[in-house]
Symmetry: C2
Subunit: 256 residues, 2 copies
């Protein structure tokens, strides 16, 4: 395992290379896309991709394009979720949301451009690029299914959690593993890890915010159960699981 | 060359298989996506993909996934272009637009789901799937660049035409050729064909609507010039160019 800052530096570099050059016309599009992806975030999903590559016996370098891809996809979902027709949010991460800063049409279009940019990055993966793309596509559809259910006011929290949160975690792990040339068994274990990590992350989030949709006791039980499942899925993998374990611990012991 | 109806039947089948099953949850998403892609359209872009595969010495079957992919991408652009924040159109092809029928949030989300569905189809191509995906990604970003310029009111018609119209034609040809295992020289010729066909199509469209942004004489000259360039790019290709030639003639002799 490298130092955390080295992984982050790899991710920021891959992201910057995957986005339109700042001077590409029309400038407002490049600007809005770069604003949306930002810098200095926690980059949880790309770190999962890099960790999955290492856990598969490959290198973090194998998964840099996959990592950039999943982060770009994640950030487009935030841009569109914030739109007036959706959650109508004006502030994200302490700054104006993309639509608030660049206008509604440009925010829709910036998100629309980010999706193919993510796929372009995924297609540059060194192993099994078509598989990496297919895993990203599955998540791309899944997050929308979760969001349609969410904005529709249907209160099946399990469905929304699985798709809005866990699908991106699962894709990050699968993409990182596939990009490192992992076999099917290894990819499957990493999917199980990421699904449970994503759900645990969501339950912990609920507990930080209040009692959660399932009540405090049940949410605590679910958080503990999914955390245990996530960690046990990391047993018997062919590579180094240090990054994924450290990431799990830091994600699940958040205080804010 | 097959009969036109056979190509269309191949395209409709591939499209139907690439879209979410009608009973997939949430039902409104499947319904909106299937409504957006419709059926019985001219399917110009997918026909270019099939024709490019044949012109490369491959079969139309090689390019069915690429064909479905480019048609799904094209139709998502229409869904988002029609939104209130963009062109605010309520009717398309004589029917209510997706946002008018399913609501604004669902229309944004249906478009958002269509993009990864297109990439999933592209990734299933039998040859050079990563190249097919990359060509689709280039068009996916290109059409947005054209649209940002268009909604921004910047009146550089060449830029808008090249990106909003021709980029999808170019991607259709490149994807069809790559999916059939074409080499770089062949792909390049088919890109030149499709770029000029797309521009000619746009100029003819202008002439049907009025005098065009460049004035009637200049538009007529440009239409003739790009048509000639498109057709001459089809010389010396390794495969059967009949479909592409027939398609060009029918596109460029439209009366409505």
């Amino acid at each position: 395992m490298k130092k955390k800052e080295e992984y982050i530096a790899m991710i920021e570099k891959a992201l910057s290379e995957a986005l339109p050059p700042p001077d590409e016309r029309p400038a407002v599009l490049s600007e809005a896309v770069r604003y949306a992806v930002g810098s200095g975030g926690k980059r949880v999903r790309p770190l999962i991709a890099l960790g999955a590559a290492e856990a598969s016996g490959g290198t973090a370098e194998d998964a840099v394009h996959a990592a950039a891809a999943i982060e770009i996809l994640h950030n487009y979902t935030l841009v569109h979720d914030d739109l007036p027709a959706m959650d109508n949010d004006e502030i994200r991460r302490g700054k104006p949301t993309v639509w608030k800063k660049f206008g509604e049409a440009n925010a829709i279009l910036a998100g629309d451009a980010m999706i193919p940019l993510a796929f372009k990055a995924a297609a540059a993966s060194p192993h099994n690029a078509a598989g990496v793309v297919a895993a990203l596509a599955e998540a791309g559809v899944g997050v929308v299914r979760g969001q349609v259910e969410d904005v529709g006011g249907v209160k099946d929290a399990s469905f929304v959690y699985e798709h809005k949160t866990a699908d991106l975690f699962v894709a990050a792990a699968a993409m990182g593993a596939l990009a490192a040339g992992a076999d099917g068994d290894c990819v499957e274990k990493l999917r199980t890890f990421a699904l449970n990590l994503g759900l645990a992350f969501q339950f912990e989030d609920d507990l930080l915010d209040g009692d959660g949709l399932f009540g405090r006791d049940e949410t605590e039980r679910l958080a503990a159960e999914t955390t245990a499942k996530a960690l046990s899925a990391l047993d018997s993998l062919p590579g180094d699981t240090t990054l994924l374990k450290e990431l799990s611990v830091s994600l699940l012991s958040r205080k804010e």
